[in-house]
Symmetry: none
DNA sequence: GCGTACAAAACTGTATACAATTTTCCTGGA
DNA sequence: TCCAGGAAAATTGTATACAGTTTTGTACGC
C-alpha cells in the first residue's frame, strides 16, 4: 500500500489496534486453537497490512498472555497460549485478590454512592439470573453480564492504579470466563447466589465480608472450571 | 548495521531487551526526568540500533506504566510518566496489601524455615541500619537493601500466584522507592524500626501482627514520601 | 524400511526508505 | 508588541528489503 489509496478507511495509527482486536477475538472465542502457530506474514497478508503493525499487535498480545513464545533458542515463534487448569486457577486467584480489594474499597464509598452501586449490581445480577435460566443459553450474554457485574464495583471503587492493574490482568481471564459460562451455562445458580452475597456485604458496609465474598466467588469459580477442564481435556477446540 | 560487523556482541533477538533495560534504568533512577519526551530516533542513535527494536522496548515500557502517551490525536508521542503524590500513595497501598499478605503467609511457614527467614531479615535490616547512618549516604545501596528485605519474605512465603502479582506491581514502585531513600537518606530510622517490628511479628508467628506491621511500614512510607513530593513539587529532576 | 545429511523453503530480527502528521519557527500585518 | 499564517523541520506510522536461523523436504546410504 505504498502509493495506492488505502484499501480500508482505517485512520493512521489505528492499524495495530485493528490487528490486535481481530486476533484477540479469534483467540478468545477459541477459533484460533490453543497451540496454533501464528505467522506474521500470514496475518499481514490476510488483513492487508504490512508486518510492522502486526508485530505491534503480537507484542501486545504476548505481553497480555494470549500468545506465548515457544521455546526456541534464537527466534520467537509465537503460538496461541494453551488453556490449562493450572493457569486458570492461578489467574482466577489473582483476580480474586484484586477484585476483593476493590470490593473492600467499595464499602468505604460515601453512603449515597455506595447505595447507588448496590442498586446497579442488583439490577445486573437479576438480569444475569434471568439469562442463566433461559431455555437456550446465550453464552455471549451470560459472559457479558457476569463481566459487567464485576467491572462495575471495580470501576466505582478502585483507584486508578488498582484499575490499571485490573485492566492488565482481567482480560487474560476472559478466555476462561467464556469457557466457564459456555460449559456451565445451566449450572450458574451458585454464581448468582455468590453475587448476592457480595451485594449484601457492600450494602452493609462490611469490608472484610465484601472482600471475602468476592474471593469466595472466584475461588469457587476456579474450582468448578478446574473440574471441567480436567474432564474435557486441557487443549483443543470446544 | 547491514553488512558491517556487529558493533556490540549482542545476541540476535536480545536487542529490544537491551534497549528496554537501558531506558528503564534511566527512568527509574530519575536521569530521564518525568515529563521528558522520548524520541525513537534519539534512542536508536544513542544505542546504535535501528528504530525497530526501540519500538518494541517503548511499547513494553508503556504497558508497564513507565511512559505514557501524551494526548495527541493521531500520533503517539511517548513521554516519561510523571511522579505524582496520588500515584505514589495508591501504588504503595497496593504493595502494602500484597506484601502484607505475604508476611501473613510467612507466619505459617514451618518453624525451621520461619526461623531461617527471620535470621536473614535480621541480617539485611542490620546492614540497612548501618547504611542509613553512613556519613555520605549511598542511595543505591539503601534502595537495594530495603528492596532485598521485602523481597526476601515474599520469595520465601508467597505462593506462585501472589508472587506473579508482586512481580507485576513492585517494579513500578521502584521509581518511588528510589526517590524515597534518596530524599530521606538520613531520616530512615523509622523504616529500620518498622522493619524490626515486621521481623518480630514473623518470629512470634502472629499472622495479624505481621500483616499489620507490613501495612504500617508501607503506609508510613507513603505518608512520608507524599509529604516530600508535596514539598519538592510534583515533577522535575532531583 | 529407516535414519541421516544436505539443500531449500519458511520465518523472524533488524535496518531503512518513504509517507503523513504534528510541531516549531519565522515572517508579515494590525 | 502581539497574533495569524505558512513553510520547514521533526517525529511517528507503515512498508519493505535483507540477513540469519530454524524447519522442512528429499535423497542417499545402511
Amino acid at each position: 500500500m505504498k502509493s495506492a489509496a488505502p484499501a480500508s478507511p482505517t485512520a493512521r495509527g489505528a492499524t495495530p489496534m485493528v490487528v490486535y482486536h481481530a486476533l484477540r477475538a479469534l483467540i478468545v472465542r477459541g477459533q484460533l486453537a490453543p497451540g496454533s502457530r501464528i505467522v506474521e506474514t500470514e496475518v499481514a497478508a490476510r488483513l492487508r497490512v504490512s508486518r510492522t503493525p502486526v508485530r505491534g499487535a503480537l507484542q501486545r498480545l504476548a505481553h497480555e498472555g494470549y500468545i506465548v513464545d515457544s521455546v526456541s533458542l534464537q527466534q520467537s515463534r509465537p503460538t496461541v497460549a494453551p488453556l490449562t487448569r493450572e493457569d486458570a486457577l492461578e489467574l482466577f486467584s489473582i483476580v480474586a485478590e484484586i477484585e476483593g480489594l476493590a470490593a473492600r474499597c467499595a464499602t468505604a464509598l460515601p453512603p449515597a454512592k455506595r447505595e447507588a452501586l448496590v442498586r446497579e449490581l442488583t439490577t445486573i445480577n437479576a438480569r444475569f439470573e434471568r439469562a442463566s435460566r433461559a431455555k437456550v443459553p446465550r453464552h455471549d450474554l451470560l459472559y457479558e453480564l457476569d463481566e459487567q457485574f464485576h467491572r462495575r464495583y471495580v470501576e466505582r471503587a478502585a483507584g486508578p492504579r488498582l484499575r490499571v492493574l485490573h485492566d492488565a490482568v482481567k482480560p487474560q481471564a476472559e478466555r476462561y470466563e467464556r469457557l466457564y459460562v459456555s460449559l456451565l451455562s445451566r449450572g450458574l445458580a451458585p454464581s448468582v447466589q455468590e453475587h448476592t452475597a457480595i451485594i449484601r456485604a457492600i450494602a452493609s458496609a462490611d469490608p472484610d465480608a465484601a472482600q471475602r465474598a468476592v474471593q469466595v466467588n472466584w475461588r469457587n469459580a476456579a474450582a468448578r472450571l478446574g473440574q471441567l477442564i480436567t474432564n474435557v481435556g486441557e487443549r483443543g477446540q470446544w
